[in-house]
Point group: C2
Chain length 349, copies 2
DNA sequence: CTGTTAGCGCGTTCAC
DNA sequence: GTGAACGCGCTAACAG
C-alpha cells in the first residue's frame, strides 16, 4: 500500500519525450505542439504526478510559502476573533495566489534566536506577515530592510503595514459619547506599546480636546487590555467623589471588567453609567448590556495585508529611489473602523 | 541593503575545506576533527549562513513541515478557543521537534481538488493533522492508507487519531443531572456526523438508560450546534405540557440558545430549570448564569496528536503485520474530559 | 517552431 | 577528510 514517488523523469519516459519537454508542458510554454502537450498532460493526469515543490523552489528561488507570525501567548488570550479572522483573510488571499501559509508562534526566545531571519535565510519563506507585534520590537526594522515583511494591524516607521484606523475610531467614539451629552468621560488605556492601544489613547485625547473637555489625570487610568485591569480601573472611577458619567475602555475585555465593577455597585447600565470598549470581540454582543464598541475589519485587514505583501519589491530588486541612497518610503495602508452602537451607551443620568 | 545568499560552497571556500566536510560539521558527524569542526562552525556563525531547507529536504526526502487542516468555515464559527487551543498545542510540539506548521483551510472545493493528496505528492509535507473533520469525509481513509495522517478530536475506523472522551463526558454529565434529582431530561443533539456530536448523543442515551429514565422522543430534539438551533429546541421543550426539569445541549452555544428561550419565558436558571452544555467555550463562563459544561483539553489533545503523528510509520516502511496482508490497527488515543460544574445546574424545582 | 542537451540550484551520502 | 553521484525540476542555449 504505497504510492510510488513519481518524478519528471518517469513522466518523460512514459511520454517518450525529454524531461525538459515535460517541464515546458507543465509550465504552459507555447513552444510545445498541441499534440505533444495533450499526450504529456494526459499521462500526468492519469499517473497523479505532482512536481516536487522543493526541487521547483530550488530552481525558481521561491518557496511559495508566506509566514504568519503571531505572539505565542496571544494565541491563547486573544483566541477570540481577532487572530482567527485575520488569518482567514490571509489564508484566503494566499490560496488565491497559490501560496501556502506557515504559522509561527513567536515567543521571547524565538525573537532572541533570530528565528525570523533564519526563516528567510534558510529559504523557507518568501515573505512574512507580523500580527500582534509591539512598537518596541525593533528587530523588525532590520528584518524589513532585508526581506519582504509587513505589519498586520500595527505600524512602525520604515516598515510597511496595513492597519485599522483606531485613532479615528476612538475619535468617533468620543464624538458619540459627547453627542449623547457626556462631559465627564473616564478613559482606561490599553498597552501603549501596541499600535491599537497607542492610537486609541490619542483618539481619546484629541476627542476630548475637540469637545473642550478637561483632561484631568483623574480621568485617565492605565490598563493592560485585561479584564482584571478594567475591573480595577472601573472600580477606581466609580469610587471617585465625582465619578465620570461614561467610561471609555481601550478594549472590550476591559469594558467587561468595568461592567463587573458597575454591577458590584448596583449601577444600571446605561441608565446610571455608560461603558464602551473597542475591538468588537464575540463576547461584546453576549454580555448584558451588549457593548458599544469599535469594530476592526480584521478579515479585510488580513486580505489587504497579503495583497500588499505581494506588491513589495523583493530584496533582490530593492533599489534606492534617490541618488543619495534614500529608500522608497514603506507603503502603509489604513482601513476605517466602524462604530458599533449597542445598549451599553446612553445619555448621562 | 541586501544580504548575500550564502551557500555551503561559500562556507567551504572560506574554511578551505570541501562541501561535504561542511555538511558533516553541520550534522555533527564525528569523523571531523575538533579543530576543523571549530573553524567551520566559527565561519558559519560569523557569516550567518543557514543551510537551504529546500535543498536539504530534497536530499533527505523530508520537508520538515506538518500540515494542520482546519475547516474553512469553522475558523470563523468556532473561532473560540477550540481551534486556537489545539493549534497552540500542535505548534508547541512541532517547534520542539524542529518542524514547522502549515495551516490549510479546507473547503469543499479543496477536498474535491484532492488538495490533501497533492500536498503529500508534491513533497511539501511529511504528515497531516486533521482538525474538525466529519465522520463522512471518506477521502481521509485513502489518504491515511498512503501517508501519515492523524485525526484530532475525531475518529474514523482505520485512521489513527487522538480525541477527547466525549462519550464518557456526556455520561458523567447525565450522572451529575441524575444525582441532582432530575428524571425528565431533555437532550438537544449536535451534528451527528461529527465525532463530538455522535459521542455526546451516545453518552446521553446510555446515561439515561443507566438511570432507568425513559427515552421518549419528546425529550430528544435535533440541533446543529448553533445558538439558534438551541434556541428553537429549547423553546419547544419549554412549551411542552410536561416540560423537562433539565436540558442537556450537546454544546455550549446551543445551551446559550436555551438560556435565551428560558429568559424569554421568565424562567430563572437554575431554580426553575437546569441547562447544561459541552465544550467549555470562553463564553460559557461569561453568560449568566455561568454554564455547567464538559471541558475538552484541546491543548493537550493537540500536543498528544502531534506526538502520535511522529510515531506513525511513514509510508516507506509501512508493512502488514500478518502474512495475510493485514495492516496493523490504527492507533487511537482517548483523553478524559472534565465535568465543569457552574451555576446553570441545580436540583429540580 | 519544436524539442533536446547540458548545467544549475544546494545539501547529503557513500565509497575511497 | 574528499570527490562524485544523487535528489528533482528549471532554464538557457542549441539543433533539427
Amino acid at each position: 500500500v504505497v504510492e510510488k514517488k513519481l518524478t519528471i523523469r518517469d513522466i518523460a519516459r512514459l511520454a517518450g519525450v525529454s524531461r525538459s519537454t515535460v517541464s515546458l508542458v507543465i509550465n504552459d510554454d507555447r513552444r510545445i505542439s498541441d499534440e505533444t502537450r495533450r499526450r504529456v498532460q494526459d499521462i500526468i493526469r492519469k499517473s497523479g504526478y505532482e512536481p516536487n515543490v522543493l526541487a521547483r523552489g530550488l530552481a525558481r528561488r521561491r518557496a511559495g510559502v508566506i509566514a504568519v507570525n503571531v505572539p505565542r501567548v496571544a494565541s491563547h488570550v486573544f483566541s477570540d476573533y481577532y487572530f482567527s479572522e485575520a488569518i482567514s483573510g490571509i489564508g484566503d488571499t494566499l490560496a488565491a495566489h497559490g501560496d501556502r501559509m506557515l504559522i509561527e508562534m513567536v515567543s521571547d526566545q524565538y525573537i532572541q534566536d533570530g528565528a525570523h531571519l533564519k526563516l528567510f535565510r534558510e529559504g523557507r519563506i518568501d515573505g512574512m506577515l507580523l500580527v500582534g507585534t509591539l512598537t518596541t520590537d525593533s528587530y523588525i526594522l532590520d528584518l524589513a530592510r532585508l526581506y519582504r515583511v509587513l505589519l498586520v494591524n500595527s505600524s512602525m516607521e520604515g516598515v510597511p503595514g496595513v492597519r485599522a484606523d483606531n485613532y479615528q475610531g476612538a475619535l468617533e467614539m468620543m464624538r458619540h459619547l459627547v453627542s449623547l451629552g457626556h462631559r465627564r468621560i473616564g478613559f482606561i488605556s490599553g498597552i501603549e506599546i501596541t499600535t491599537v492601544g497607542f492610537d486609541r489613547s490619542r483618539g481619546f485625547r484629541d476627542g476630548a480636546k475637540e469637545a473642550g473637555l478637561s483632561l484631568s489625570p483623574d480621568l485617565c487610568l492605565d490598563g493592560n487590555f485585561s479584564e482584571e485591569s478594567g475591573h480595577q480601573a472601573g472600580a477606581r472611577f466609580l469610587d471617585l467623589p465625582a465619578r465620570p458619567t461614561a467610561i471609555f475602555a481601550a478594549n472590550d475585555m476591559m469594558a467587561i471588567g468595568c461592567l463587573k465593577a458597575a454591577a458590584e455597585r448596583g449601577l444600571s447600565i446605561p441608565r446610571d453609567l455608560t461603558i464602551v470598549g473597542g475591538d468588537d470581540v464575540t463576547l461584546a454582543s453576549y454580555v448584558r448590556p451588549r457593548l458599544t464598541t469599535i469594530r476592526q475589519p480584521m478579515f479585510d485587514i488580513g486580505r489587504e495585508a497579503t495583497e500588499a505583501l505581494f506588491q513589495l519589491p523583493s530584496w533582490r530588486d530593492r533599489r534606492p529611489v534617490a541618488p543619495d541612497g534614500r529608500m522608497p518610503p514603506a507603503p502603509t495602508k489604513v482601513i476605517p473602523t466602524e462604530l458599533v452602537v449597542r445598549e451599553s451607551s446612553g445619555p448621562p443620568p
